[in-house]
């Protein structure tokens, strides 16, 4: 059976496979500054999630307050580019 007219040539297919492998192998980590900010926000949300507040409204307010605190902390240590 002949290949479809728009099917890639073997060389093209090899390049496409190389690209796919290269993309899947990308392991660039998040910058340290971003990680610090995200960890601060997640810690605040976790505390509120497991904390003393038990109504959804109360939990939301507490999470929002802790998030604001986390962002404020993070804004004092901007990420290095």
């Amino acid at each position: 059976m002949s290949p479809a007219p728009d099917a890639p040539s073997p060389d093209e297919q090899r390049r496409i496979d190389e690209i796919a492998d290269a993309i899947r192998a990308l392991d660039t980590p998040a910058p340290a500054g971003l990680r610090e900010r995200v960890e601060a926000m997640a810690a605040g949300a976790s505390d509120a999630d497991h904390g003393a507040v038990d109504s959804d409204r109360g939990a939301s307010d507490a999470i929002a307050a802790r998030l604001a605190h986390g962002v404020a902390l993070a804004s004092r240590s901007p990420a290095a580019c």
Binding site: A30, V38, S46, D56
Partner: protein, 175 residues
């Protein structure tokens, strides 16, 4: 149905960052996008409706990207400096066997038309299964397969400098 653990954003941060970079085409924009997404997700308790944590977070990332881009499109446009455009072109003297730099790959992905870009990011960058990607993008698995194939071919052509079927310019699309 279960609650999203807030620590999930930390566990999946690296993958979210890479997906954001591929969406935006720049590291700086990716940082902003991830932080905005995390702030939105954690602003109130979230429930997972059968999906995995990463799938949920990627959906939030995509939604935040689309909404912030709509907002940005209503602001006055800025023009990229010429040196930025020239320096960002990875195609000169590309050898087939050369290793690809991460920024080249991310930039090439960011130049893809949106439907191809999202499929490629979901599967190749973030590591979702075809099934999870189909659920995330609300298309059939076969559609993911097709879009993925075409996305990879376009990225390969782009990096080889063979002028793949025209895609939107990253400068126009994402700013």
């Amino acid at each position: 149905m279960r609650r999203l653990d807030p620590q999930a954003v930390v566990r999946h941060l690296d993958r979210l960052y890479r997906a954001a970079w591929a969406l935006c085409g720049s590291r700086e924009d990716a940082e902003d996008l991830v932080q905005e997404t995390v702030a939105r997700v954690l602003a109130r308790p979230r429930r997972l409706h059968g999906e995995e944590e990463l799938g949920y977070l990627l959906g939030a990332l995509r939604n935040t990207f689309l909404s912030t881009r709509r907002t940005a499109s209503r602001r006055p446009q800025t023009v990229a400096p010429l040196e930025e455009v020239v320096a960002g072109d990875p195609r000169a003297s590309r050898q087939p066997e050369a290793a690809y730099e991460a920024h080249e790959l991310f930039a090439a992905i960011a130049r893809l038309p949106e439907e191809f870009r999202l499929a490629l990011i979901a599967v190749d960058v973030a590591g979702l299964s075809y099934r999870e990607a189909g659920r995330l993008l609300e298309v059939k698995e076969a559609t993911i397969t097709s879009r993925l194939h075409r996305a990879r071919a376009r990225v390969a052509s782009d990096l080889a400098g063979t002028n793949a079927p025209a895609s939107e310019s990253a400068l126009m699309e994402d700013r």
